[in-house]
């Protein structure tokens, strides 16, 4: 149960914690875009991934996230990664052949493509982890709401959506606690959540899901009533107790991100290749 709490807000006071949530969201999007850039050659791709990985690692260090937590959250993905590898190998490809078994060719490209996906996954996960573990869920939604404000022009229900997101975020820990409690209660009645036959497993899951659903529905009903009782009106204009404040460090960080993003775009568009430039053959 405890591992699910990964990526949950951790109250340190690092530089990244203090950055403006709006900036952090924009930065996340910018980095995600960077991860998907393509460069001239395979070597160039890996070089840029390496640089991005180092930058992200440094950010993780600043945010006081341990690498071990990242690997723990990757554990459930092994199956997916193997699956990806198999699919990539089966798809006919072009280029150099790595090995040939009984006329079946495994290409370098298949391996590289799988590696790209894995690297992208790991980097994206790290980035998301940095955002969620350094930003309070509420700040996150405030940031999102602010960034989505222009959408109000096209009658997009920005406030409602951000309210829904913040409620959902707010109830994740509650739901986890509830899950833990019901699991304990049912295992006191002899349910074995760890091993057992498939039929027992299904029964175990049912004994967890039904109470969970019922209490969630009850809770949402109570919440809705409480909100209405206090005169909640989604279209009402509201003020905020704590205002987001843009500081110098936010401007500097934004500059940093713009520089990296600009640099990578240039490299990509101009088909720049360091290795060719230095005359290194790969």
């Amino acid at each position: 149960m405890k591992e699910i709490a990964l990526g949950r807000y951790v109250p340190y006071n690092s530089l990244i914690h203090r950055l403006d949530p709006r900036l952090k969201i924009v930065a996340l999007i910018a980095f995600m875009v960077m991860i998907f850039f393509k460069f001239v050659s395979t070597a160039m791709n890996f070089l840029i991934y390496g640089i991005l990985a180092i930058v992200i690692y440094i950010m993780m260090r600043i945010a006081k996230i341990k690498l071990i937590t990242l690997f723990k959250s990757l554990k459930p993905m092994w199956l997916m990664i193997c699956f990806l590898l198999i699919i990539n190998i089966l798809i006919p490809s072009t280029g150099d052949v790595l090995v040939e078994i009984n006329g079946f060719k495994i290409y370098y490209n298949a391996i590289f493509n799988t590696l790209y996906i894995i690297i992208r996954l790991v980097l994206m996960l790290s980035l998301t982890m940095i955002l969620t573990s350094t930003t309070k869920p509420l700040d996150l939604t405030y940031g999102l709401e602010w960034l989505m404000t222009p959408l109000k022009l096209i009658r997009f229900p920005v406030h409602e959506i951000s309210m829904i997101i913040s409620l959902a975020l707010r109830f994740i820990p509650t739901l986890l606690e509830e899950t833990d409690r019901i699991m304990k209660a049912q295992s006191s009645r002899g349910v074995d959540f760890e091993d057992g036959k498939l039929k027992d497993k299904i029964k175990a899951i049912i004994s967890l899901i039904i109470p969970l659903f019922i209490s969630s529905i009850q809770r949402s009903e109570e919440l809705a009533n409480a909100m209405e009782a206090r005169g909640y009106d989604p279209s009402g204009k509201r003020t905020r107790y704590r205002k987001m404040k843009w500081c110098l460090r936010d401007t500097l960080s934004l500059g940093f991100i713009v520089i990296i993003l600009g640099g990578l775009i240039t490299l990509s568009i101009t088909s720049f290749d360091v290795f060719a430039l230095l005359g290194i053959e790969l």
Binding site: I182, A185, S188, R189, G190, D192, S207, I210, P211
Partner: protein, 286 residues
């Protein structure tokens, strides 16, 4: 099955910023057949303590023994863990949230079935347990979600009683019940205790502690502050003040009478009847 805690520590979410030590150096013995109350302020670690008794939580360090079962941090898989859950039944705070079956009867039979009882035996045990908690037969085929809060609580408690545990652990079983219902519940536990079940009950109701229990464990800030009989506790104004406990109504009444010169023996007072007896006796001796 006696229960023994020795040097038990328990830390929630160790090695994280949320680390919290909920139990510190707990040393505690609970005899077979006793009716033990666990009291203390909210957050003092009572629920954490009792979850060690059926190994829902393993000590971070130290050892808990329940009969032949040894629960410690080092033993990865406890032998016969499933059996321990049958011997020591735990009813959680607000257990009504664990109901899930289509009918009341099926829900109560769920436990016995998990312990490999055949259908007939499981349903017999379920019926017996339901009747004992005061659920009428005409409710057996209703959905548990159609019941009132108090009825749900009874059904949830029956779900554990149907396992016929040797040790029954109850986490605030009467919280939120009407006074009459609460009294019925307490009498049910007393009856179970007289039939040989060890009862361990977390409670905030000092009147129940005085009337029903023969041992009381006082917890304060993750530690066991005192283990004694209820009357020893309520006689000791220092500890009552120290832990911030209210004395039972009967005891404060008796203490006031003693102050006014009536010669009562506090040791013999457990409920209203024994109080009246003591007053009558004291008046006669005057």
């Amino acid at each position: 099955m006696p229960i023994n805690f020795s040097h038990v520590y328990y830390t929630y979410l160790p090695k994280s910023p949320f680390e919290y030590t909920a139990l510190e150096n707990i040393n505690l013995g609970i005899k077979e057949g006793s009716f033990t109350a666990i009291i203390g302020h909210t957050g003092s670690g009572k629920s954490t303590l009792v979850q060690h008794i059926n190994a829902l939580l393993r000590p971070t360090s130290g050892e808990v023994t329940v009969g032949d079962f040894v629960i410690s941090s080092s033993t990865k898989k406890i032998k016969g863990l499933v059996n321990l859950k049958k011997y020591a039944g735990l009813v959680f705070q607000f257990p009504e949230y664990q109901l899930f079956e289509e009918t009341v009867l099926k829900d109560v039979a769920f436990g016995p079935k998990n312990f490999k009882e055949n259908n007939k035996v499981a349903f017999d045990k379920a019926k017996k347990a339901l009747l004992s908690v005061g659920i009428d037969e005409n409710l057996f085929d209703k959905s548990p979600f159609e019941l009132s809060g108090g009825q749900k609580r009874r059904v949830a408690i029956a779900g554990i009683i149907a396992l016929e545990p040797k040790i029954l652990v109850l986490d605030e079983p009467t919280a939120g019940l009407d006074p009459k219902g609460a009294k019925e519940m307490m009498n049910l536990f007393k009856q179970n205790n007289e039939n040989g079940t060890t009862i361990i009950m977390i409670t905030h109701d000092m009147n129940n502690v005085l009337t029903y229990c023969n041992q009381v464990v006082v917890m304060k800030k993750a530690r066991v502050e005192k283990v004694c009989t209820p009357i020893e506790l309520f006689k000791d104004d220092n500890i009552l003040h120290n832990v911030g406990l209210e004395e039972p109504h009967i005891i404060s009444f008796a203490k006031k009478l003693i102050k006014k010169g009536l010669n009562l023996n506090l040791n013999l007072i457990r409920d209203l009847n024994s109080l009246v007896d003591e007053i009558v006796k004291a008046r006669k001796n005057k």
